[in-house]
Amino acid sequence: MQEVAVIGVGMHRFGKTGDAIVGTKSVGELCRTAVDAALKDAGIGWKQIQAVAAASSRFSGGKGWGLNGNDVVEDLGSTGIPVYNMSAGCAAGGNAFNVGYSMVAGGVYDVMLVVGGEVMPKGMIQTSGVEEATDPEFLRQRCIGMPGPSFWSTLARRRMFEYGTTEEQFSQVAVKARKCSVGNPNARFQKEITVEDVMNSPYVSNPLRLFQICPISNGAAAAIICSADYARKFTSTPITVATSTVATMTFNDMLPRGLADPMTECANLHTEAQNAVTSAFEKSGIGPQDISFTELQDNTCYYELAFPEEWGLCEAGQSESLLMAGETAPTGSMPINPSGGFVSFGEATTAMGVFQIAELTWQLRGQAGGRQVPDAKVGLAQTLGLGGNATAAILKR
C-alpha cells in the first residue's frame, strides 16, 4: 500500500433547479465546473488523469444507465482512460472516493479523478416507480405511505422519548448549521436563521419541521487524488488520506428499513455507518479523540445528535448538552459539519461523499474562511445510502 494524497478539490455551488445558481444546467455542466476547479486547484491538466471513479446516479445524466463517469470523460476530452461508475445510493460519492483511494493505494494508478454530481427531480424523492410486490419500497409506500422524512421522524421521536430531546434542540442544530454556511461560497443557503424561524417552519412530518430536514439540491464536487510520491511534484503540503472505508449493515441492525425486521438486542440503528467509521478508526490507528472535526450525513438534524454518540465521539445522551454549549460549532471541542452540512447545502445525493472530501481538504489547509476549525489536523467524513451502504474517510495534514 502506498500513501494517498488529495492535491485538488472543486465544487459547483449547490442550488435548486431554476434558481440563479444552477438554473437549467445539466449534471454534465455542473461536473465540468467542479472538475475544472479541482484540476486548477491541483495544478495539473486533464490529460494527466489516469482513471476516473464516479458516483453513479439514477436521477440524472449517465445516459440513463448511471454511467455518469463516462459523461464526464467525454465532456473533458475522450482520452480513453478507464472509468468506474459506483452505485451505492446516497453513499455513491463516498464509494467512488474509496475506489479511487484503493486503486491509488494499491499502485494501479498514480493519479485519479473522483467526481459526483446530481440534478435532482422535483419534490420528495420517489421510489423506483415500479409497482411490484417484490419491491420493498413499493410495499412500504403503498401499504403504509412512509416517505423519507417520516422515517427520520420516527428516529427523532424515539430520541425525544429516550433522552428528552426537545424540538428547540433539533432547531438549534439547524441554527448552528446555517451559521456555518454564512460566507461558504458553495452553500445553497448562506443566511443565518433563528430558533424561532425553525420553529415557525411547518411540520414536514411531526416532530420534524421543514428547516430541520435537508432539501434536495443540484450540485457537483470533484477531487484529484494521487500517490504521495506523485503529490510531491505539485505541492509541498498535500492532504493525506489516512484511510477510506466502505461498509454495509449487519444482521443485528434494528433500524426499521423495509416493512419489518427481526428484533435483536442491538442498540445501534445505523450499523452500516458505525461499521464504516469504526473500521476507519481501526485501519488508520486514529481514534475518536484525535478527530479535529467531522462532516457527517445530516439529512436531518437528528443525525448530528445521534451519530457522534454511536461512533464514540462523545457519550450516549451527551450530544444535546454539547450542542447547547456551542461545542459542535467550528470553534468548539467537537465541531460537526463546519461546512453547514446537508441542511445548508441540500442533498445532491451522489455528490455528497465528494463534497465532504472537498470540505475536509479546505479545512485541513486552513482555507475555510469564517467557518474554519482552528488548527484542524484530522477530519472525519461519513456518508450513508439506501440499501445499508455507508462510507467513511479520515484525512489529515
Binding site: Q141, I144, G145, S150, F151, S205, P262
Partner: protein
Amino acid sequence: MSEQRVPCVEGLFGEEDGVATLYGSRCAGCDTPYFPKSAACHNPECVESKMEDYAFGGEGKLWSYAVADFPPPPPHKFDKPFTPYAMGVVDLDCGLRLIGQMVDKAEDVVVGAKVELVIDTLYHEDDKTFTSWKFKQI
C-alpha cells in the same frame, strides 16, 4: 358492508375470522422471523437456511411514531381530502419490529403504548375498499 373489501396488495396479509394476519416466513434453522416472506435467511450465523411460511400478528409495544403531515407521493394512495395520519414502529411480541399506519389519531398516539395489529381501510377506488395492516392502541 356493501363495498367489496380487498387488500391493497394481494397475498401479503389477510383477516381470517376477523383476526389480522401477516403472511411471512420463519427460518426453521435459527427461528428468525421475516415479513414479507424471505427467500433466504439473512442471519450470517445460521448454519442452514430453511424458510417456512409463517403467519404473524397479535400485540406489541409502540417503539416510536411519526406523523404524515403532507400526502406522500405515489405509489401511495389515499382518500381525498388528505387527513394527516400517524405511522407506528412496533415491537411485536412475535419478534418482529414492524411499521404500519396507526388507527388512532396522531395527537392520541403515545410512545411505549401497547398496541394490537388490525386490518383497516386505507383508501377507496373502483367501488372497492382497499385495506392494509395498521396498529391500534389498546
